[in-house]
């Protein structure tokens, strides 16, 4: 098993490696939300599907909507999903950040023994293949981004996970249940990607037909207050 070097608390988020992915164009545009950085996004056919803010003081993942960028999310991105625990992950809170963040770093040349190809490729515990100096940051959304190097090919790994107790406390380590937050990921079964549908359908899909359940403003692409205990099937 590959070792992981935990970084010190004084470490800062540096600008991540710009990836060269197939059928994906990276673009840099000024950050419209003044995140002390610029938006590094995936653009294809003139549509910005996803974006993240990079800079010295903040590195986070934001949806185009959160950034005020219109997007139809029609382009599939060749991102890989890691769905298992990785003991090689090392997390450390970033000093000076009020919001929960962490950076992940691992040594190179450890465990990355087979090439990955295609959007449904599965990389269980290959976190050790992050390039030296390659860093990843994730915020409260719980999506980890790792810039990995498989031979001559760069790919971006995104891992849906949570950080450790000191960053996002959990009530029970055994069950993973928290008295405040419980999180899930709904994805496509085959490709482990975002199952897309038109934004106008969000309320119809997400909200139950109950009078006490209402759409509310707040973080996220869609948010509702759930008064009913049972969801009608």
């Amino acid at each position: 098993m590959a070792a992981v070097r935990e970084i010190g608390s004084s470490a800062r988020v540096s600008k991540p490696v710009v990836l060269a992915e197939e059928a994906v164009e990276r673009t840099r545009i000024p950050c419209p939300k003044d995140h002390d950085g610029e938006v590094l996004g995936d653009q294809h056919a003139g549509e910005l599907r996803s974006a993240r803010v990079v800079g010295n003081s903040e590195s986070c993942i934001r949806s185009p909507k959160a950034l005020g960028i219109p997007s139809t999310r029609t382009v599939r991105r060749s991102a890989l999903t890691v769905t298992r625990a990785s003991p090689m992950l090392a997390t450390q809170p970033i000093e000076g950040h009020s919001t929960p963040q962490a950076i992940v770093r691992a040594r190179s040349g450890s465990g990355c023994s087979r090439p990955l190809a295609g959007t449904s490729a599965y990389c269980p515990v290959r976190m050790g293949c992050v390039e030296p100096g390659g860093e990843s940051a994730f915020g409260s959304s719980g999506i980890v981004m790792l810039d990995c190097n498989f031979g001559a090919r760069h790919v971006s790994l995104r891992k849906a996970t949570r950080v450790r107790r000191e960053i996002r406390p959990a009530k029970s380590a055994h069950t993973g249940k928290s008295d405040r937050v419980r999180e899930y990921l709904i994805r496509t079964s085959e490709t482990h990607e975002w199952p897309g549908f038109h934004r106008d359908q969000q309320a119809q899909v997400f909200m139950p037909p109950e009078p006490d359940c209402t759409e509310i403003d707040g973080s996220g692409d869609f948010r509702m207050r759930l008064a009913c205990r049972r969801w009608p099937s």
């Binding site: 380590a173 419980r182 999180e183 899930y184 990921l185 199952p195 948010r223």
Partner: protein
């Protein structure tokens, strides 16, 4: 009273239950949500629970659209 937030990410819909989740059958809601998302997207979908402290995710539960 609880709130549910949906965040679209490349890896899927990140669904977060906040508040008094003990009063909500979250697993049942997610199962129904998964089926609904599958129907809306036209693709077979599955849901996984994101577990905090152990840095791992739960076993997938599949739902065929």
């Amino acid at each position: 009273m609880s709130e549910v937030a949906f965040v679209g990410e490349d890896v899927g819909w990140h669904v977060v239950f906040e508040g008094s989740i003990e009063d909500v059958d979250a697993d049942a809601l997610i199962a129904t949500l998964t089926a609904r998302v599958g129907m809306a997207s036209g693709e077979s979908c599955e849901s996984i629970q994101i577990i905090s402290a152990k840095v791992q995710v739960g076993a997938p539960t599949r739902s065929v659209a």
